[in-house]
């Protein structure tokens, strides 16, 4: 009886401490993000207040209004930046996915000379910090005239993402037994049909997750974009954040408002694709 009570008590405390720990961890992760959202609705006085104002008060949309307003009132070409970001991220993601699918499939299915060396080499390219490449990239792009263009940045992001998409997609295709495609071939498919009708649908979840990663990498990338884009015509949203800094002041409210606009599409995309990630991987066509 006593022992029973004790173990019940113990499991209760374990549960409580579990939740508390979880709460603390989640707070550490989430508070900066929530702070940005909060600040985007606050006047500068509250943002700068010391000690910080924890309880929100006097929330308004002034920062957003100003941001979309004319140049004189602290406005920035948000729509232009947004379009730039969208074009660059989407295009580079789609290209990286196609290259990644071709490469990942090849690595997973075929045997060829130097396969492992090439694979390691691909991953090693990711060991070089992007910023270290910014100057050489800048010079090359300036010489070839693709600096400050969508095309230039797309190229850079494709190069950045391809090793990663190949690696990730390779892993997913490896999990699909080759028998599936062979069964499809016997059922009358060509190699090409077997891929698109059987292997691709089964690996869809992997392709989707590679897509999210590639998209988020390009969408959020700042270091290279800040070097390789100059004008409104090619600047991406993260680079646009810098428009809020002037020589002596930083417009924190405006910056937070733009940051919120930056976060929203990424969140939406993740939510949409997440469903695929969970429901996608239903093996069982082969022995479990």
């Amino acid at each position: 009886m006593n022992i029973n009570r004790l173990s019940k008590l113990k499991s209760f405390f374990l549960k409580v401490s579990h939740h508390v720990t979880l709460f603390i961890a989640m707070s550490i992760i989430c508070i900066p993000g929530l702070w940005i959202v909060l600040n985007s609705f606050r006047p500068t006085v509250d943002i700068m207040a010391k000690p910080p104002v924890w309880v929100p008060r006097g929330l308004n949309l002034d920062n957003y209004r100003a941001m979309f307003g004319g140049a004189g009132e602290g406005g920035v070409p948000v729509m232009q930046y947004f379009t730039n970001s969208l074009i660059i991220s989407c295009t580079s993601t789609i290209i990286a996915l196609f290259v990644g699918m071709a490469g990942g499939y090849a690595f997973a299915r075929f045997r060829f000379k130097g396969k492992n060396a090439i694979f390691v080499g691909l991953l090693l390219t990711r060991a070089v910090p992007g910023v270290a490449l910014s100057l050489p990239l800048f010079i090359v792009m300036a010489k070839t005239g693709i600096i400050d263009t969508h095309f230039g940045l797309i190229l850079v992001y494709v190069a950045m993402n391809v090793p990663f998409t190949i690696w990730l997609i390779d892993g997913f295709f490896r999990q699909i037994p080759p028998d599936l495609a062979e069964a499809a071939e016997i059922d009358g498919c060509t190699r090409w049909q077997a891929f698109w009708k059987v292997e691709f649908p089964v690996a869809k979840a992997g392709v989707a997750s590679a897509g999210i990663f590639a998209f988020l990498t390009s969408w959020n990338e700042y270091a290279l974009a800040s070097q390789l884009t100059r004008s409104t015509f090619s600047k991406t949203m993260p680079v646009g954040l810098r428009d809020f800094t002037s020589e002596f002041t930083i417009n924190w409210g405006g910056m937070c408002a733009l940051a919120v606009l930056l976060i929203i599409p990424a969140l939406i995309l993740t939510f949409i694709v997440q469903k695929h990630l969970i429901s996608g991987l239903t093996f069982g066509g082969v022995k479990g």
Partner: protein, 362 residues
Amino acid sequence: MAQVILKNIVKNYGKLEVVHSINLDVAHNEFVVLVGPSGCGKSTTLRMIAGLESISGGEIIIGDNVVNNLPPRDRNISMVFQNYALYPHMTVRENLGFSLKIAKRDQTEIDKSVDEASKILSLEDYMDRKPGALSGGQRQRVAMGRAIVRHPDVFLFDEPLSNLDAKLRAQMRVEIKKLHQKIQTTIIYVTHDQVEAMTLADRIVIMRDGNIEQQGSPTQVFENPINTFVATFIGSPPMNLLPGRVGKNMLEFSGGLILPIPIDFKDIVKPGQDIILGFRADHIMPVGHDLTIDGDSAMIEMSVGVSEPLGTETLLYTQLAGQEILAKMLRPRIVQDGETLTFNLDLGQCNLFDAVTQRNLR
């Protein structure tokens, strides 16, 4: 009509040759089982017939055409894989209809064929489930259903039952046999399990190390194994083998055991020749618990090491001439471990193998 003919088929992986110029004729509507230990090249052979593996040498004929360079889709064959290879993103119905859909048949025809196949294999209740929600035996049936909807010329099976538990395996074995009776098609079936081979086959083809060792009906290979490998591979329990030497009108074994030469071999063996005597457990039984033997027999005293009662019969593990020997007891009584019994060896059912070549001397 679709016979399958393999002429001098060779398969190399790089420098390694894994199938050595094999020849095989499979008649229309015949059920042929390729059996052999794992790694002997059965799957490779089957996959060459399917067109999933290129052929390094020789010729494969299906029906009346040489198919060496045809892709699988042009060979009109179906294959059931060991791990089923069902399409996990499709329902059972879609799995079954996939090949017809690829062939661009119209929907009513597809539905008809799928329904027909689902009836043959009693899959009606699972048609809208995905493979992930099926049991092993059900998946197995879907895999077979997918193979039959197309009415192929040839069915290929690659160890289709080896992922099932023993009870289900026995059940599916019967279903496959029934299926063959129903749909009347040429079947080439690969397994490493000699029980499956014996029960299913019209003709057994025994392979070892990329060669065909022997082919024939189940009874033929069971009663007249061409060498000691086939003798021990086919039949359960495996054939007992006793190495010995031919003396003057008799066979001498270690430990002073002497047996008469079986009559079939009298004129074949020479004195001084090293031989191996082979006999099955069914042909060495304790006196009083045996079958009547017509022809020569020999009485041997042996003490029983371990006995395994199986109900209608008991297996007796004994020692003879320094070798472990398996004998059988019909109408069994309880046997004490270490008990000495007199056994009757049916000499007419014995085989003699050459000790050097391991080949049957018959």
